[in-house]
């Protein structure tokens, strides 16, 4: 488990960035910085108000994007 994976070992030899072995890597990085660190945070739920806000903003983005399309259509029509 503690041995470096073959791929990482090869990379470490190709691009030496520290002493041999892997102990120094674990000492240098915080445990949660490791690429394969397990998840630390559980799920949080969104309040009703937040969900409403997010949906309102989603509708806002969709409507406004339609208006962008409308304006571009008008501009292209005016040029044509």
């Amino acid at each position: 488990m503690n041995l470096p994976a073959p791929d990482s070992d090869r990379e470490a030899r190709r691009h030496p960035v520290g002493p041999p072995g892997e102990a120094w890597v674990r000492e240098t990085l915080e445990p949660e910085q490791l690429a394969k660190a397990p998840p630390r945070f559980g799920r949080a739920s969104l309040s009703r108000g937040t969900v409403l806000l997010l949906w309102a903003l989603r509708i806002y983005v969709v409507l406004m994007t339609c208006l962008v399309g409308l304006q571009i259509w008008r501009a292209l029509h005016a040029d044509g």
């Binding site: 791929d7 090869r10 960035v17 983005v61």
Partner: protein, 458 residues
């Protein structure tokens, strides 16, 4: 409403043993060793520490000074001259700093990228909800970067196919270093050329008293508030504050290996980036003011047309520098935005997502990056593709998509369970909510002028 459950929703459990190491761990640890050695040295070298820790903030700010942004600034200068928009551009960079500083804290404390954190905390549904704008926005923006590259090199007579393919190869060459540090330093080196607009501004001989007057009074505003003013207002906001910046900087902070101890330097990095990018943006506005003075109609200009039109006023050297600046802006943004897409792809699908990954471990990450850049480059070369249409809408869409992205940002950065002592202060929340309200109001103003154009003078 609770977030939709999915396979990644299991609460954290105690690990059975230390996780195996990967190639990116070795490289990141190598970078951190230098930081730690500098901190532990009897004679600390603050500048060296800053040099080691800067990167994501400067890159995100100069990356956002991209092709369409520089064209927006140039159109602003050509249409409005020296006046309202100079201090307004500074304000947009203040807004950018406010939101980007939060991503530094989020990345340094949680060690998770923005997409990954939304997924982890709120589930698959809200993860995809927040990603929708990013995917569309990044693709459109990447297309405009290759348009800028094509336009900038077109000034020198380079064929579009050669310009686009060459830029794609540069993006690939920088990424294939498979080392975040090398990628970051090369891209920073390229990004410095964003300052190329400063000598062009000097050659344009802007009136210094007019510049000072503009910053002090936010005036003049020729033509007053009209539909064109609102459109440029939106484009200039979208030139500075966009969703991809949130995703990119947080992922880059994690990839670089910044920790909570580095937050101060990350903040300085972001501030330096904001100041340098604001100077480059203002220089672009000033560089094209001769077009305003000589009543040159520049409303539909792209990068190369600006350079050609400026030639009589700033000379051949000035025009050449301007074209190079447009090319550089597109190239740096193509590198950063394609990386942003790849980071988000890897974070969402649970693949390795680091520029430190080996090709074998991180092939999906690199494939996503090349696919993003390749599709955008390909679209630019399609004959009769509506490129002008895309350039026109990209910054406006970025501005419109920003409020939902900031809401997720504020939710995360106020989450004491993940942020601990680095949770947002009341003042930071006031600023964050203020920026969101300002963006929504700007969008609504744009919507009203589109639906009811008769309300404002044309």
């Amino acid at each position: 409403m609770p977030a939709t459950p999915d396979s990644r929703s299991a609460p954290p459990s105690a690990p059975a043993g230390p996780p195996p190491l990967s190639a990116e761990d070795f490289k990141r640890a190598g970078d951190r060793r230098r930081v730690n050695a500098n901190r532990a040295a009897p004679r600390r070298r603050p500048w060296m520490l800053l040099w080691l820790l800067i990167g994501p903030g400067i890159l995100v700010m100069l990356g956002e000074n991209d092709g369409p942004s520089m064209i927006s600034y140039a159109q602003t200068g050509a249409i409005y001259g020296i006046g309202f928009f100079l201090p307004f551009i500074v304000l947009t960079f203040v807004m950018a700093f406010i939101v980007q500083e939060m991503t530094v804290r989020l990345g340094a404390v949680t060690k998770l990228g923005h997409a990954e954190l939304i997924y982890t905390r709120y589930g698959r549904f809200w993860g995809f909800f927040s990603m929708a704008d990013l995917v569309l926005g990044n693709l459109l923006t990447l297309v405009t970067e290759f348009i800028a590259i094509r336009a900038g090199l077109g000034f020198f007579g380079v064929a579009p196919e050669v310009a686009v393919l060459g830029a794609f190869l540069v993006v690939g060459a920088v990424v294939l270093t498979r080392r975040y540090w090398t990628w970051e330093r090369i891209t920073l080196g390229l990004a410095v050329f964003n300052l190329i607009f400063i000598p062009v501004a000097v050659m344009a001989h802007p009136a210094a008293p007019a510049v000072v007057h503009a910053f002090l009074t936010w005036r003049p505003l020729p033509g007053g508030v009209n539909a064109q003013f609102v459109l440029l207002l939106m484009a200039d906001i979208g030139a500075t504050v966009t969703p991809w910046m949130l995703f990119f900087q947080q992922s880059a902070v994690v990839d670089k290996g910044l920790t909570a101890e580095d937050i101060g330097h990350g903040r300085a990095d972001t501030a330096i980036g904001a100041v340098v990018a604001a100077v480059a943006a203002i220089a672009t506005v000033l560089a094209v003011t001769p077009l305003y003075s000589h009543h040159v109609a520049a409303g539909n200009f792209q990068g190369a047309e600006f350079a050609q039109s400026l030639r009589p006023y700033v000379g051949r050297v000035g025009a050449t520098l301007f074209a190079l600046g447009i090319f550089e802006a597109g190239l740096v943004a193509a590198i950063t935005i394609s990386s942003s897409s790849a980071y988000a792809f890897g974070e969402v699908l649970g693949h390795p997502h680091s520029l430190n990954s080996s090709l074998r471990e991180g092939w999906p990450f690199y494939a996503a990056l090349f696919a993003a850049a390749g599709v955008a480059a390909g679209l630019v070369l399609i004959p009769h593709a509506p490129l002008v249409f895309i350039v026109l809408i990209v910054n406006v869409i970025a501005t419109l998509a920003m409020p939902p992205a900031i809401v997720f940002l504020l939710l995360l950065v106020n989450d004491r369970e993940i942020m601990g002592e680095h949770v947002n202060t009341r003042l930071a929340n006031v600023f964050g909510i203020g920026v969101t309200i300002l963006l929504v109001l700007a969008g609504l103003a744009y919507g009203i002028t589109t639906v009811l154009p008769q309300l404002l003078p044309t």
